[in-house]
Symmetry: C2
Subunit: 227 residues, 2 copies
């Protein structure tokens, strides 16, 4: 009964936790904290403690009390499978179902737990094996490899540099709206006019010579790469 639990495909809840740990680690480079995961999944901290212990039993995370959790190799593979599904579904919804760039995120959270690997791979084929989703996030390969990410938040840019938008945080719908409305989307070129340390405002100019002053929250939500 124990090794059965090992071989079963993780429940949708387990998957959500793995993805949260994966994404928090990507941001901070560190172990995922109870609090961080709780906030991301809108559950209580107690539930996270509880789940961390179970994930460790299942061999999906390395966990030490009061120290947070990091993914094991198996946990990381699992998380990447879900990320792959999520991003392909988003791309499908955008390109074939006519959803707005901003609307794409929400429902994919649910669907990613319901589709099989076979479905995912056929979807990838239908879409022409894209390597980035509509927000600019890289899509993991079917083999579980993920492009190394050399992008950084616009808030850390230096004045005068020329940058390409690589991705936009997809957690906040209002921010997605803002960027979407102004066509500040992955692939666009920006020139940094000013980075004001005083208040964190970053002033950029786009390819059409439009100038935008972005406050720190916005500047932290847009990721760029040196061009």
């Amino acid at each position: 009964m124990n090794d059965l639990a090992q071989s079963r495909s993780p429940s949708s809840s387990v998957g959500d936790y793995l993805k949260a740990v994966f994404e928090l680690a990507a941001d901070s480079g560190d172990a995922a904290s109870t609090k961080g995961v709780a906030a991301r999944l809108s559950v209580s901290a107690a539930s996270v403690s509880n789940m961390f212990a179970r994930l460790q039993e299942m061999g999906l995370v390395e966990y030490e009390r009061y120290r947070g959790a990091t993914l094991t190799e198996r946990g990381r593979r699992e998380a990447l499978r879900l990320v792959r599904r999520h991003r392909l579904i988003e791309t499908f919804r955008l390109e074939h179902l006519g959803y707005d760039w901003q609307e794409v995120h929400a429902e994919a959270e649910r669907l990613e737990h319901a589709v099989s690997d076979a479905f995912t791979d056929r979807l990838a084929e239908l879409l022409g094996h894209p390597d980035h989703d509509p927000h600019g996030d890289p899509i993991p390969s079917a083999e579980g490899t993920l492009e190394v990410d050399d992008s950084f938040p616009l808030s850390e840019a230096v004045a005068g540099s020329r940058l390409r938008i690589s991705k936009v945080r997809d957690e906040d719908a209002a921010m997605l709206d803002y960027f979407g409305d102004r066509n500040l989307v992955p692939g666009r070129l920006l020139t940094v006019r000013e980075v004001r340390t005083l208040d964190g405002v970053v002033i950029v100019e786009d390819e059409d010579a439009e100038v935008y002053a972005l406050g720190e929250p916005l500047a932290r939500s847009m990721f760029v790469r040196d061009e």
Copy 2:
């Protein structure tokens, strides 16, 4: 807390039961039995009794102990929403993902619980608002209406009649294989050569003058309409 349960969208388990009751009633015209639902969902009879009581509380079925359950109007609407999703997803998988006619059924069971109505309607549009799925089953409209079904199993045909295949039972993969391999699919025309009451074998000839002798189990799985 009680009326919240009323307004919530039913859990995936609840939906599975509603669909099972719906489909059993369609077959037998009668209340769905505990045993029938248990067999269809691969669950113990005790679980079904339990769930019938809960479904009644939720106002989704009419249920009397030892007498089986029938859907209420609300229960029927819920079931039809799921059936609509299921059949549209099957159609999508066949037409856009290149699945075989036989493979289509299985995964849709899981997906139908994860997609929203909005997704479903956009999918319908992408597919050109089909009114039948690949097995020939009618797709309920977004408003919850379903074509009246005047088809009957081939096992009840009379010798000499000309019939069109309307649908094929999709529960048994081996039978789907058999029919699929021989191109005995919805839309094809058949002429009944002989109906042998002795052993239930039905002998038919298709449009290409191929002749098939179908035993009772197969003849009961193929539905036809007078042409």
